[in-house]
Amino acid sequence: MSSNRGKGSAAGLAAFAAIIAAAPFLLPDYYQSVLIVAGLFAILSMGLNLLMGYAGQISLGHAAFYGLSAYASGILTTTFHWPVPAGIAAGVVLSGVTAALIGIPTLKLKGHYLAMGTLGFGVIVYIVFNEAVGLTAGPSGLTGIPRLSAFGKTFSTDREYYFVVWGTAFVLFVLARNLVRSRMGRALRAIHTSESAASVLGIDVARYKAFVFVLSAVYAGIAGALYAHFVTFVSPGSFSFHASIQIVTMVVLGGMASLWGAVAGAVFLTVLPEWLRAIEDYDILVYGAILVLTMRFLPGGLAEGAERARGTLVSAFRRKSPASAAAASGAEGRKP
C-alpha cells in the first residue's frame, strides 16, 4: 500500500511540475505577474497550512512575517547595498527568529493565545512599518529595491521571475509534503486533535508547536523577500491585518491539512479578483463570505471538493464499464 501511495504522489508531483513549466507559455503575458503573486501566496498558504491545518494553531498575523522579511531584505539591499541573496537570507532569518521569540512563550499556554498574540503582533508590526519613517520610509513606502540577481544573473523579466517563484514554491511544497508524511507530521496532527493524548505518547507538544510556528514564519519570510525583489517597492498596506485574513481565507478555502488545497486556494483567490474588479472595494466582505460558506458547506475546502468530484466520476465510470473500473480501483486510496 505504501509503495502504491508513493507512486501516486510522485505522479502528482510530476503533474504539478509540468503545469508550472507549461503555464507561462500557455497563458497571455499579462497573467505572468498575476501568477507570480499567486506563487508567493501559495508559499504563504503552505506555511500557514502546516501551522493551522495540520497542527491546529491559528496565526492571525502572518502578514507580519511576510512583511518583516520584505522590509528587511528591501532595506538591507537598498539603504545598505547588500547583495540581494544576502538580503533575502537575512529577511528569512529575521522572520524565523521573531516567530521563535513570540511562539515560545505563547505556545506553552493552551487555548487561543497564539491567535491573540499574533493578532497583536501583526498590528504592532504594521504600525512600525508606518511610523519608523527613517528606516521604512513610512506610509509612502520604500522604493528602488533591486530586482533579484544571483550568480551573476539578474532575473529581470516576469517569465524568469515566474520560474524563480514557482521553482521555490515547488521545492517548499515537496519539503512540506515530506514533513507531513513523517513522524513530525503525525505528531502535529496528533496535537491538533488531542494535546493530552499526544503528550502521553511522548510528543513534546510545546516544542513541536514552536517548531511548526517558526517554520511557517520562514515560509512567509521566503515569500516576503521574493515579493520585495519582484515589485521593487514595499509599503505597509501589503502587510496589514487585511492581508493576514486573506492568507487565512486561502488556507480555509483550499482545505485545511491539504498542501494541494493551499496552492489551489492561493491561486484561486489571487486570480479571482483579477476577473472581478468590481468587488475590489468590498473584498474583505467577500473573504468573510467565502470563509463562512466554506466552513458551512465544504469544511475540507477545494481539496475535499476535488476528492468528492473524483469519487463521483470514478463511480459513474465504474457503472458504465465494470472492466475498466477494476483498473481504476488501483488508483483509489491515494491521498492528494
Binding site: M1, N178, R181, M184, R186, S196, A198, S199, G202
Partner: protein, 257 residues
C-alpha cells in the same frame, strides 16, 4: 523482591483544585508484571491520580518513583519516555487520522530517523516507515482489531475505538500501561475479551495499572487492588481481602461505617 525498591510506587500524593482536595496523601505500590486495579466510587480521585502520574496534573505534594527514578514534576512527554503510557476514560482517538496512522503515531518515540532523513527521504526514512506500519498492523491484530486499517479512526464503533487506543499505547512499547476504565461502554462479550487481552499484555512483560468500575473484571484479573474514596486510600490488598473489608463495603453501599 522484598526489601528492594518497588517497581512503581507513589507516596504522600496530594492534589488540590482551589478549596477542593482531589487527592490526599495517597500512597500505592505496584509490583512488576502484575495487574493492579484502582477502584472506588465516582469522584474518588482515580482519574486525577492517573493525571498526576502521567504529568498532566502537577501534584501539590508527594513523590512518584518508577523503576528506580523519580517522576515527580516531569512533563507528560518525559513520563512517556520513561516507559509509562496510558489510555483515556473518554476516548482520545486522533480523529483526523486513519486507524493505522493512530497506531503508528503511538510509536513516536521508537522512530529512528531525524529531520534530514524525512525532509530528503533517505533509505532510512523508508525503512523505518515500513517497520512502523508492520508493527502497527501487528499491534492491531494483537488487540483483535481486524477492521480496515485505512478507515478513518472516527468511523470505528465505540468498542473498537477502545481497542484502538490500547493498540496505540502498546505501539509505544510501554513497560507500564495505565488503562483508564477500559471496560466502560463495552458489552459483556467485549469485556471478557478485554480481560483476556489484559492477561496477554501482562504476558508480554508489561505491568498494568487500571482504573475500573466493572467489579467482575477487577476481581477476575487483578493481582492487587487499591480502593480510593474521597481522594484517600481506603484499602489495599488482594481482590479477596478488599472484598471482605467492611470499610470498602460501606463506601460502595453507602452504609454507616
Amino acid at each position: 523482591m522484598s526489601g528492594s525498591e518497588p517497581f512503581f510506587a507513589g507516596e504522600g500524593i496530594t492534589l488540590r483544585f482551589g478549596g477542593v482536595t482531589a487527592l490526599r496523601d495517597v500512597a500505592f505500590s505496584v509490583s512488576k508484571g502484575t495487574v493492579h486495579a484502582m477502584i472506588g466510587p465516582n469522584g474518588a480521585g482515580k482519574t486525577s491520580l492517573f493525571n498526576v502520574i502521567t504529568g498532566l496534573y502537577e501534584p501539590d505534594a508527594g513523590a512518584i518513583r518508577f523503576s528506580g527514578k523519580s517522576l515527580t514534576g516531569l512533563p507528560p512527554h518525559a513520563v512517556a519516555q520513561s516507559g509509562i503510557v496510558r489510555t483515556f476514560q473518554n476516548l482520545e482517538i486522533f480523529t483526523n487520522m486513519s486507524v493505522l496512522e493512530n497506531v503508528v503515531t503511538g510509536a513516536h518515540l521508537s522512530v529512528k530517523y531525524g529531520p534530514l532523513d524525512f525532509f530528503l527521504r533517505t533509505p532510512r526514512y523508508f525503512r523505518e516507515e515500513r517497520r512502523l506500519r508492520e508493527e502497527a498492523r501487528a499491534e492491531l491484530s494483537f488487540v483483535g482489531l481486524d477492521a480496515d486499517v485505512s478507515l478513518p479512526a472516527a468511523q470505528l464503533p465505540f468498542g473498537s475505538q477502545r481497542m484502538l487506543e490500547i493498540a496505540r499505547a502498546l505501539a509505544a512499547h510501554p513497560r507500564l500501561l495505565l488503562l483508564d476504565e477500559p471496560a466502560a461502554g463495552l458489552n459483556i462479550r467485549e469485556t471478557s475479551a478485554l480481560g483476556e487481552l489484559i492477561r496477554r499484555i501482562v504476558a508480554r512483560g508489561v505491568t498494568v495499572v487500571m482504573v475500573e468500575h466493572d467489579m467482575a473484571l477487577v476481581m477476575d484479573i487483578s493481582d492487587r487492588v487499591t480502593v480510593l474514596n474521597y481522594g484517600e486510600v481506603l484499602a489495599d490488598g488482594t481482590p479477596a481481602e478488599v472484598q471482605r473489608n467492611p470499610a470498602v463495603v460501606a463506601a460502595y453501599l453507602g452504609e454507616e461505617a
